[in-house]
């Protein structure tokens, strides 16, 4: 019943950052590539009416249509998992560009510590520091090995950042290609206060260009206008690095990318040893196609990568009871419910203006940059202030104790509309034996495939981390001179309702050992050598930084691996 198409060398499943990067690298090397994207195509002309808070930020215009596909969720195995019926804790991308079109553009390389987290933690504190059930492991690659690929991504995207290395961050072999974003008065307040307290603040590196930039592929892009419609929006200027204005046009220009939109892959075909192609449905007509291919590359975000492996019965599914198997293991998130809000009675800032990646941060309490000997957690968080542009539906901060409606609410929310600064805690999230992804036994998507089931909760590790780090933010906020300082330090159970972060990680993790990882350090599957699984699905844990830097670097590494595999075959590691 499905139409069998002629065989192609490479098929990519998903055309966001990872699919786009790999498409560009392979087509530049002369390889014919088919890119399958379940959503629609888009370009900057689609953003004519982009400055619409209701449509984009509240109604999620750019996100995956949950009526067709979602995930189910439970906090633990005793609960019945139920579908995430509406958004949501995280916002899933859709269409060409994927999450890379609606992201903020905040850029931060993971630390050297992250890639060797288990050995380095044991080395400094002893094996007892790692609590029972915490399944951290080394990534099978070191920071120095991945460093050149970070540089590649930075120069493709035109990352804007401080030219000097910050002592709290990994060393860079080349400075960022463009200077940092402008410093707003709110950022300056934060940087001055944290410097005074002895910390090392920096302007967060940004994929919103600080100035016009021409990348090594010859792509020229305009500077950010600080228009304040970035997060959850597409950039009409093309100033925000997005696959649609960077890597995808490069691939298209070669004439070697066959990009098919509205093509939803439901299965990876394989013979038990190697993949033979994919099956996909045209979501407009319902027609089913079989696309045979020499290589299958999964580039469809964390959750869909893992779901496709499970529905296709590729790789050994993770079993939480025994801790064996690998697909679905080490699902992690971002611990960032804790925050400090400062209300300034005597100051007004131009908070309506901003950009997705316009902020300052300290990493003095990130990774293992501080002594954890007397603390009941490992890793840490970036403490940060951002000026996104305080849009009026979404930004109605009032001091604790203010009613949430009526005259008092109206007056306080208007009074503080331009006088509120929030310090966020972007906390690392560790993997646990009982946090995992598998297939839901009950609920299905619009194409009859089982939904992915997520089992996840906050642990004491997260609670202790949050309490300690929000405490540090509170000190900084007081130093900044806020009239009222409201701190939110207590983590309850993980709740799928309030928006937290679209930094889902793990489930198809990388490593040096096939019994504890799905892919090797080229993101090549141990169990099927012609399949690469690319994205934050490869993260063994999640760090205290935004994930895209590390996702981008790994995608460049995977592209190199794919080209290598085409020449020599076999396992690359």
């Amino acid at each position: 019943m499905s139409t069998k198409l002629p065989k192609v060398p490479v098929v990519l499943v998903g055309m966001g950052w990872t699919g786009g990067i790999i498409a560009a690298e392979l087509t530049k090397a002369g390889i014919q590539v088919v890119g399958l994207e379940r959503g629609k195509g888009r370009d900057t002309s689609d953003y004519f009416m982009a400055h619409d808070e209701l449509r984009y930020a509240q109604r999620y215009e750019m996100m995956q249509d949950l009526s067709k596909e979602t995930v189910t969720f439970r906090n633990n195995e005793k609960m019945r998992a139920l579908p995430m019926r509406t958004y949501g804790s995280f916002l899933l991308g859709d269409g060409v560009g994927g999450s890379g079109s609606h992201w903020n553009g905040q850029y931060g390389r993971f630390l050297p510590y992250d890639f060797e987290i288990k050995s380095k933690t044991i080395e400094r504190y002893g094996a007892k520091k790692i609590p029972a059930g915490m399944t951290i492991q080394d990534w099978g690659i070191k920071y120095d090995e991945l460093e050149p690929y970070f540089v590649k991504y930075e120069h493709m995207a035109g990352i804007s950042g401080e030219q000097e290395d910050n002592p709290m961050l990994g060393k860079k072999s080349k400075p960022y290609p463009t200077p940092p974003m402008k410093v707003t008065p709110t950022m300056k307040l934060f940087m001055d206060a944290s410097k005074k307290l002895g910390y090392h603040p920096y302007v967060v590196a940004s994929a919103n260009l600080s100035e016009m930039y021409k990348n090594p592929d010859g792509i020229e892009r305009a500077a950010c206008q600080y228009c304040a419609y970035c997060e959850r929006f597409g950039c009409e200027y093309g100033a925000k690095a997005d696959p649609v204005v960077t890597v995808i046009p490069v691939a298209q220009k070669t004439g070697k990318l066959d990009l098919r939109t509205h093509s939803n892959v439901t299965r990876v075909l394989h013979d038990g040893k190697k993949a033979t192609g994919v099956v996909y449905v045209n979501t407009l007509t319902g027609e089913e196609f079989e696309q045979p291919a020499d290589m299958v590359i999964l580039t469809s975000y964390v959750l869909n990568n893992v779901r496709l492996l499970l529905t296709s019965k590729l790789g050994k599914p993770y079993d939480p009871a025994s801790g064996t198997g690998v697909v679905g293991k080490n699902y992690a998130y971002q611990t960032q419910s804790g925050k400090v809000t400062g209300f300034f009675d005597d100051k007004q800032f131009n908070l309506y203006a901003g950009a997705g990646s316009l902020g300052a941060e300290i990493s003095d309490f990130n990774g293992d940059n501080f002594d954890h000997s007397d603390l009941n957690f490992i890793h840490g968080a970036g403490l940060r202030v951002f000026q996104y542009g305080a849009r009026p539906i979404g930004s109605n901060n009032v001091p604790k104790g203010t009613p949430s409606w009526g005259k008092d609410f109206k007056q306080a929310s208007i009074k503080y509309a331009n006088s509120t600064i929030t310090l966020a805690t972007q906390g690392a999230s560790m993997p646990w034996k009982h946090h995992f992804l598998d297939l839901d036994p009950t609920y299905k998507d619009a194409y009859g495939q089982p939904l992915l089931r997520m089992t996840f909760d906050w642990e004491d590790q997260d609670r202790e981390l949050t309490k300690f780090l929000v405490g540090k933010s509170e000190e900084i906020m007081k130093e900044m001179g806020a009239t009222i300082v409201d701190a939110n330090k207590e983590l309850k159970a993980y709740n799928i309702t309030p928006y937290q972060s679209t930094h889902n990680t793990g489930g198809a993790i990388m490593g040096a050992d096939p019994s504890t990882s799905v892919v090797n350090n080229y993101l090549q599957m141990w169990d099927a050598e012609n399949v690469f699984v690319v994205g934050a699905s490869a993260f063994g844990h999640n760090s205290g930084f935004n994930p895209t830097a590390t996702v981008g670097a790994l995608a460049y590494r995977a592209a190199e691996g794919i080209l290598k595999y085409m020449k020599q075959g076999g396992q690359l590691v």
Binding site: Y60, Q225, Y352, G406
Partner: protein
Amino acid sequence: MADNNSKQPKSTSRREFLKNSGLTIGGLVVGGVLGGALIGKQKVEVEKVVEKPVNYNQALMYFNQEQFQITEAATERIFPKDELGPGAKELGVAFYIDHQLASPWGINAKDYMTGPFFKGEATQGMQSSMKRVEIFTVGLQGLTDYSKSKYSKKFTELSETEQDEVLKVFEEGKEYKLSGTTTKEFFSLLRSMTLEGAYADPMYGGNKDMQGWKMRNYPGTQMSYANIIDKDEFVKMEPKSLHDHMGH
């Protein structure tokens, strides 16, 4: 204008965007007094020449008359008129809500509404099989029924204090039961839609004449803040709406 603007590449979409929409960047009004004086003058002149335009958007797509009136009264308590400016009623919030309930969002078109439905834990989010428009309709009936049972009056006939008391009961969600949904769920929808109606772009039917934005010095949609983003002083601007992008 931002320094960066002069350095834009020739073929960017932004340039096309500006050309097509007839936009201008800048035109900042610094300081409230001067801005206010200018606008005042313009308004007077306009009123002399043109009759008050009819707002064809102000008609109903879903509500009946009574539902509209209850919505208008309830949203006004959530976002009341005060010395800072207009409340929900003057901003057209009830029209906004009516139009939204009649939209794909009102029938949860992009939500996962496939069964089976179970009552979940609080951490699992919305698990109702009822659509937003249905929850809202049942909620409005609940306001009527509860007001009649407690005060022997319609909700719209109650004093402001009594209306607040009813809404508080609905917000807490303990005292009064609704069929298929909860008063808490209805109230949360009512509250979030009220804020949306006060602050969403005026094309949606609320935020009349951008008065919601003006109250909090929100400039709406401007094309660039590159020249003020790092400035210390607070800069007030005349707001622009998406309609301004349409040009000619």
